[in-house]
Symmetry: C2
Subunit: 118 residues, 2 copies
DNA sequence: TTGTCATATGAATATTTTATCATATGAATA
DNA sequence: TATTCATATGATAAAATATTCATATGACAA
């Protein structure tokens, strides 16, 4: 090996990161909340999915420190932690920039590719 | 909503990205290959896992355009595409920077947290 | 051409993750 | 305090993903 920097962060930390981050729905939640802190019910409407689904995903993001919440009467307003914003932006920009590329790679892919992506 | 930029990238593209990227093992593969292009067997030794496991994961990364390969005799040398390097670096830096933070969030987490992370 | 090394592939299984449902908690208000 | 709204939680079901095993392919060397 010419470089061993990839050993500097331990597996458990990488796992924690991806536990919360490695999922489309949670990424969308982050992308939404990043600009608009909002309540669970409003997020539910924007995301168009079940209340408990949203709550579970928010718990997950809370556990890994991507979001926090503040109480507002009956509501809980979730917002993205400042520390997490740069990486959300970076991933968002990457996806946006390589959208066409990602799709074309997928289309010309070899036979091993799973059907759901075709 | 004060900002609707999160609607500009379609779900399918986000899904493609996370199909490949949202996983600890594949991220480690990317982090390794980014600095050291190498053969499947060498990667297998570095990662300490099964050959077919490595191959399957490499196929996945290949399908979504994160890596490519070149033939060298019997070997296949996998390397990370230049386009993918910035986002790998960004995530790597984020994880490294917030390592302690990620871990502490997890420890103080509410009861909903899965046991595997404790 | 046979054997061996390197990799790829497909199928089966195991494991993890996600989604859903039922219900609990807790705040506000009639 | 009963009711309703907002959210959280736990259990289960369902789906997706990862892992493993057996085997195929393909290059090279004996």
């Amino acid at each position: 090996m010419t470089n061993t920097s990839y050993n500097l962060v331990n597996d458990n930390t990488i796992r924690l990161f991806f536990d919360a981050f490695g999922n489309m729905k949670r990424f969308k939640i982050l992308a939404i909340l990043k600009n608009d802190p909002m309540s669970v019910s409003r997020l539910q409407r924007v995301m168009n999915c079940e209340q408990s689904d949203v709550s579970h995903n928010l718990q997950c993001l809370l556990n890994c420190g991507f979001v926090n919440k503040k109480i507002n009467g009956k509501e809980r307003i979730y917002y993205v932690n400042e520390e997490a914003k740069p990486i959300i932006n970076a991933v968002y920009k990457h996806i946006n920039k390589y959208e066409k590329y990602l799709i074309s790679c997928n289309i010309m892919a070899n036979p091993a590719i799973s059907m759901k992506n075709r």
